[in-house]
């Protein structure tokens, strides 16, 4: 197996008695789109900040391309592009000037043609001379990606890149991340508190809860279709009939006229058909796909 582009060993950080990150270890390999999933305050941003040298860990080690980060911070940051939390920039300067400044800070000679290429790539050509304070949140987010990309890093660290975007912006960002991985060979570490965001872009993922790793692996294995939670709302309670059938084995909760099943999504039509055949009036069937439900599912 190739050398991990990122390797974290036993990383911990405590803020005045609050354990933000607790003995965290994981590794990211070249080409991965690595999803970092967790609720707000789970420790995602703190871990990313430690990865970038913004916050100093209390314990543990960080390796980038096999080299310890602490001793080679300046050199290794040349290989990393990042957006941490909000894409804050100099509002009184144009998008192009912001990009030029951040490009110059990489200490590499980056020609203007590269500046315009990356503006094109994120869809900001035509607006590059406008002041950033006139940009929408989505445009700022895209400029943030451009800043992260301008020096052609191998690794992109994107902390909640879809925050504050409208549905179209979210879809565009998703496509951009997929394209960066697929077409440009970038390794991406992307965080979100939304499971479906991670599910749609990541190849591997890590679930963080109160600073601790609670699951890690390929997305296709972790988000097991057999673990999907499905709510079935009926006109009258059908719990007794369900419990006395084979479906009772996968019934995990029942409240009033709503029953929750933990099942493979492909079997939902079969369940619906059986209920109708039993004379149960099915009012609604909905999959529960929130992070909370996922946590319930993986911890049950």
């Amino acid at each position: 197996m190739s050398t991990p582009i990122v390797e974290i060993r036993n990383l911990s950080k405590n803020f005045k008695g609050r354990q933000a990150v607790d003995d965290l270890s994981f590794s990211i390999h070249p080409g991965d789109v690595y999803g970092f999933l967790g609720q707000n305050g789970a420790g995602k941003s703190t871990t990313m900040r430690m990865l970038l040298g913004l916050i100093f860990p209390d314990a543990g080690q960080i390796f980038i391309n096999g080299e310890e980060f602490g001793n080679n911070r300046r050199y290794l940051l040349k290989h990393i592009g990042a957006i941490i939390e909000r894409p804050d920039m100099y509002g009184y300067l144009s998008g192009r000037d912001n990009l030029r400044i951040m490009a110059a800070l990489t200490r590499e000679r980056i020609p203007d043609s590269r500046i315009y290429d990356v503006l094109e790539q994120v869809g900001l050509r035509g607006r590059e001379k406008d002041k950033v304070k006139t940009y929408s949140q989505g445009m700022k987010q895209r400029l943030g990606i451009a800043i992260a990309l301008v020096h052609q890093p191998d690794l992109l660290i994107l902390d909640e890149p879809t925050n504050g975007l409208d549905p179209q912006g979210i879809a565009e960002m998703r496509q951009l991340i997929l394209s960066l991985s697929r077409d440009h060979g970038k390794t991406v570490l992307v965080s979100s508190h939304l499971l479906h965001e991670i599910e749609q872009v990541a190849t591997r993922m890590l679930v963080l809860h109160k600073g601790k790793k609670i699951a890690e692996g390929p997305v296709t294995e972790l988000i097991n279709p057999d673990d999907m939670l499905v709510d079935v709302v009926t006109r009258a309670s059908a719990e007794e009939r369900v419990r006395s059938s084979v479906w009772g084995e996968i019934l995990v909760a029942s409240a009033g006229n709503t029953m929750t099943f933990k099942m493979n999504a492909a079997r939902v039509p079969e369940l619906n058909k059986w209920l109708v055949e039993q004379g149960v009036a099915v009012m609604e069937i909905r999959s529960k796909h929130s992070l909370e439900d996922y946590f319930i599912a993986i911890t049950q």
Partner: protein, 279 residues
């Protein structure tokens, strides 16, 4: 390093608020000059009564040299505030804007960033003092002409021949640059601790005001600490308008100010190098 300094200066001078300081200095100098033009002669005749009773004073007492000196004296408190406006914003302003974390994700070391911020603040300070020279001295010379300069002190006065004044001004402005760079270093140091620029600016001014009071209080309690306060040495530029010039005292003051600058910049680097950036 030069490229980074250029970037920092570009950011400072593209911001409209930077020019507030230059506007304030211009306004104060202009108002002062206007007042001196309108009623300066009566004011000085009254103030010079003791002198004119004893000596026969001929020629123009109110000339550009004297007016320039008076403007500089009246700006003792304002200039540190104007320096703090920019220097106090260097790190804290970036933290407040959220751009500090963006800067620190680029391959640039923290000590380097602090040094660049300090150098940029120093360049701003030099330009502000140069502008002060233009509006306080050269504009006054234009409006009031040249002549021998009378430097009134509490019990005596010093008469400086007109050909002997300009170089003194040059030295005084150079000294002012050192003194104001010490203020810039103090603001930068305070800026490293804050996540918004208001705190460091107000804290700088509070320190300058309190220490200036302590420097001027003629009480035995403060005699021991007075030589160590940078505010006691900030007015060293006035020495260039004495006769003879107290070079030893001026040199000592300059040395104390340089030590303050080195200590404060070193302290900023030490603290900032260990700081968690959570803004």
């Amino acid at each position: 390093m030069m490229k980074l300094l250029q970037i920092e200066l570009y950011k400072i001078f593209r911001r409209p608020r930077t020019y507030i300081s230059f506007g304030v200095v211009t306004a104060i100098a202009f108002i002062f000059q206007l007042a001196m033009k309108a009623g300066g002669r009566e004011f000085f005749e009254f103030g010079m009564q003791d002198v004119t009773d004893t000596f026969n004073v001929q020629g123009s007492i109110i000339n550009g040299y004297l007016v320039g000196y008076l403007i500089l004296q009246s700006l003792l408190v304002q200039i540190p505030l104007l320096v703090a406006l920019v220097a106090g914003d260097t790190l804290a302003g970036e933290a407040n804007l959220g751009t500090l974390r963006l800067l620190l994700t680029r391959p640039i070391s923290r000590p380097q960033l602090v040094l660049i911020k300090f150098l940029a603040s120093s360049v701003y300070t030099i330009l502000l003092i140069l502008w002060l020279a233009v509006v306080a001295l050269f504009l006054s010379l234009l409006l009031f002409g040249t002549g021998d300069m009378i430097n009134l002190k509490s019990e005596t006065f010093v008469l400086l021949l007109k050909d002997d004044v300009m170089w003194r001004y040059g030295c005084a402005f150079l000294f002012a640059v050192v003194a104001m760079t010490a203020i810039a270093a103090l603001s930068l140091f305070l800026s490293a601790f804050a996540d918004n620029s208001i705190g460091p600016i107000i804290a700088t001014m509070a320190i300058v005001v309190v220490l200036t009071i302590l420097s001027n209080l003629e009480l035995p309690l403060f005699n021991a600490i007075r030589p160590y306060l940078f505010t006691s040495h900030m007015i060293g530029w006035k020495g260039f308008f004495d006769d003879p010039i107290p070079y030893a005292a001026i040199g000592k003051s300059a040395m104390v100010l340089v030590l303050y600058i080195l200590g404060l910049v070193g302290g900023t680097i030490f603290y900032f190098n260990k700081k968690d950036i959570s803004s």
